[in-house]
Symmetry: C2
Subunit: 487 residues, 2 copies
């Protein structure tokens, strides 16, 4: 007889009746081969003794098992597993569910991510110099909650709980249209704007629509790795173009264009990732001209337009792109709270509509409640107040951080004071191994990256983006002090 006492583990506090749980346990034993056709089931009395369950419970379970077609009652003999059960698997060697040999391939598929790439280390509270994230302590969460409550209370507010628009909340699209027109000279119709789940989704949709296997896309020698990964996933080839102090070398690109067909060019003209350089106006205009001539798309990733400290920012390529080559991708809430991801894509109407159709296939729509809340925060000016307040704070943090870098790290770190964004691109002296530095720092209570995120097949800069924005003055001093000690 099977060791029912240990095999049958029921949860008394479950919302599912005990007799159902018991019935399911038996079904499991039958289908995994522990019980075979015509095997006898223990009497209610015996099972009750073994498990402590009420005999009536067991009786109900057996009745359920019979009515579902797994067992039969033979008069004066007992309850038996059905003699004619269809297609049961052979008896397993063990009784445990967990020991299926997962290396035996049940079905064939090709894993596009053979090395596990999931980053699951975000939630640590140790002192961290991050990659350039905003300070979530500055996020006006209370304002957001107030908007949520306000929206949900309105009578028609429950509409947001039904399905929404794949292109995104109409209110948010209107608010963004106004905001982008005011701040970036982007003249856009709400119909040409798609709200995405962060700029990441914008890049993913654009890549899916533009690129197919073996297409060429031009990207920087140094580039945003997540974008590289998306382009590779859809099968495209990355053509690496050098990036210097003025951004991507467009002359080099022009030479490349004469030799290979290029479907698209991906640029981060505002603050290149990782090097934070700004693309010169001359190169922007030349790129637009080449795009028109060679008929390629420009994916303009403008994820942190709002954070510039010194000069007025150049207006985006999208604002001066009269030939409609640019697919403009931005992020509104990277600066609000990274986890509440809201971005947008602006492009030719047909392209945006196709992107919305694809988006609909992927996850149907965005988070209506969040989109409505953000729309309110734009309309009542709170969003911009938040930007301006953060900007001030981040600027002084940048200044302090760079001051300390300059005075204490002059011998080992080469850097330029960034004109915007939330991190300093810091190239370390070759004598310093970043993986070792990261390891040593970790042991001393300071979390910093090991630099691998910025490396690729041809670019190994021995550099880090050192994020200053999410640290207050005290933390800046403390973390850099620790870092100096470790070096």
């Amino acid at each position: 007889m099977l060791p029912y006492k240990s095999l049958i583990q029921l949860k008394r506090d479950s919302s599912v009746a005990l007799y159902i749980q018991l019935c399911n346990s038996f079904i499991n034993l039958i289908t995994n081969g522990s019980l075979q056709s015509s095997d006898v089931l223990p009497s209610t009395r015996l099972l009750s003794e073994l498990t402590g369950l009420n005999r009536n419970t067991i009786k109900l379970a057996y009745e359920e098992l019979i009515s579902q077609g797994w067992a039969e009652s033979v008069e004066r003999k007992g309850i038996f597993v059905l003699s004619k059960l269809p297609v049961l698997p052979e008896k397993k060697k063990t009784n445990s569910d967990a020991s299926v040999d997962s290396s035996a391939e049940a079905f064939s598929w090709i894993n596009p991510f053979p090395e596990i790439q999931i980053n699951e280390n975000y939630q640590e509270s140790v002192l961290t110099i991050d990659d350039g994230f905003p300070d979530v302590r500055l996020t006006p969460v209370d304002l957001l909650m107030r908007e949520y409550r306000s929206i949900s209370k309105k009578f028609y507010g429950k509409n947001f709980l039904k399905y929404g628009f794949p292109k995104g909340s109409e209110n948010l699209r209107s608010a963004l249209t106004r905001y982008l027109s005011n701040t970036r000279g982007l003249s856009v119709n709400p119909e040409n704007l798609l709200i995405t789940k962060g700029s990441q989704m914008g890049i993913y949709l654009a890549a899916q629509l533009l690129l197919t296997k073996s297409d060429n896309i031009a990207v920087g020698v140094s580039n945003y790795r997540s974008a590289d990964e998306i382009f590779r996933y859809v099968g495209a080839n990355l053509l690496r173009i050098p990036v210097d102090g003025y951004g991507m070398d467009i002359d080099f690109l022009e030479v490349m264009l004469k030799k290979k067909p290029v479907k698209a060019v991906y640029i981060i003209p505002h603050h290149h990732f990782p090097t934070t350089v700004t693309m010169s106006m001359e190169r922007r205009l030349k790129l637009l001209k080449l795009a028109k001539e060679y008929r390629f798309a420009i994916i303009e990733d403008d994820y942190d337009f709002d954070f510039h400290y010194n000069a007025k920012p150049y207006i985006p390529l999208a604002s001066i792109d009269h030939n409609r080559n640019v697919i403009y991708i931005g992020s509104i809430t990277k600066t609000f709270a990274p986890a509440l991801r809201t971005g947008f894509m602006i492009a030719q109407p047909e392209f945006v509509t196709a992107a919305a159709s694809l988006r609909q296939l992927i996850d149907k729509q965005g988070d209506s409640l969040l989109e409505e809340a953000f729309s309110s925060l734009f309309d009542n000016g709170e969003m911009e107040r938040h930007f301006r307040k953060s900007l001030k704070i981040y600027k002084s943090r940048r200044d302090l951080f760079c001051e300390i870098l300059q005075s204490n790290f002059n011998d080992v770190i080469d850097f330029k004071i960034p004109e915007g964004g939330m991190a300093v691109w810091s190239v370390f002296d070759q004598s310093i191994s970043l993986p070792k530095l990261s390891w040593d720092a970790g042991k001393k209570g300071l979390k910093i990256a090991d630099g691998s995120f910025y490396n690729n097949e041809i670019f190994i800069p021995n550099g880090l983006r050192l994020g200053f924005a999410s640290l207050n003055e005290n933390e800046i001093e403390k973390s850099l002090e620790l870092l100096r000690k470790i070096i």
Copy 2:
């Protein structure tokens, strides 16, 4: 001279300084060719007269234009567009931004969605018989808001605002693991569970990983159209298998398997969409055996497991799938609020990790705040209380709805009382044209579908899913009364 008075439209209530807006306006005029190299700009006095702007504002704008490299000041002559501007486009024929000929293809791409497929008609408040949505008036929004506030107030609660886990909130994965184990006999490790943005994303991820161009996937002759669209998008061929009162005809599938290689089979065993039939246990077991023998994956879409009125539901294939062929996809919050999309995928660990990696490429992660809130609602029992309360209400609505269908529509509608779910699959007499019915109903204030969502290349059932769940008793009587009149 250009008509500056109408060309220059600034927003005084913008957060962007007027002089910056003015500078940007000029840049636009230069780059679209309205102003050419060496053109003279109007004097500050003249422009002030034309636009009403303060002369100082204009002066600042010109200084900015010069410092950004667009213009130069020639002593005693005025301000001129730079004579040596790089690569400007030729002068456009018109001055308007909006009249770019969008049919001229700026870059080449293939639109996978040539017929626009965006559904933007959800937010209407007219009396509607929907496709089978829950009643959002029953959603305990206050409870959700309370959780949101509680989470955001906790000191460490701000962690949810930073990046989260691609597989989803750990707390929600644990809560779901317990819930699924209790209610469906699914024994799952939180590591094999991926939280997705609705079941739609689960299907999308599975399709992307399993299928490539020209692969075969077996689906029902009648099927959930959104799934069909995803499979087609990734390039797979749909092999149609008949569906009868016991679900997909697995004998037919077996014959097909001998003739063609099949990568995957997509089933909705609980309540088939659209026909609401339940797949028999015999066929479920046979399908598992075939999957093991022919090595294909089974995508089990179990989107509305929780809503069954009569019999105890069969446990999912995933619970008795000891060979790990099943990719189990579910939706937790379809029953809570359709717009707050939270679903999950359970499969072999390697497959789930690959799905999470792909998910990370698409939109990085889910909505941490929402996931934490749902996790609380599971842990404190509120979620299950909501399910049980809704179930009771939906059951009595089903009974009333079917009663009226039986007594008043016997001559024109063929239907079976559904054992679960939120709609009645109703096949209309061939004499009734559903598009016409939908049109006529619309004119009389009743919104119903035209049936096209359920049709495909070989299946034109002249049927509708009539959703009873989202209508209260009054609305049920009223809508069916209207419908009877229209027929």
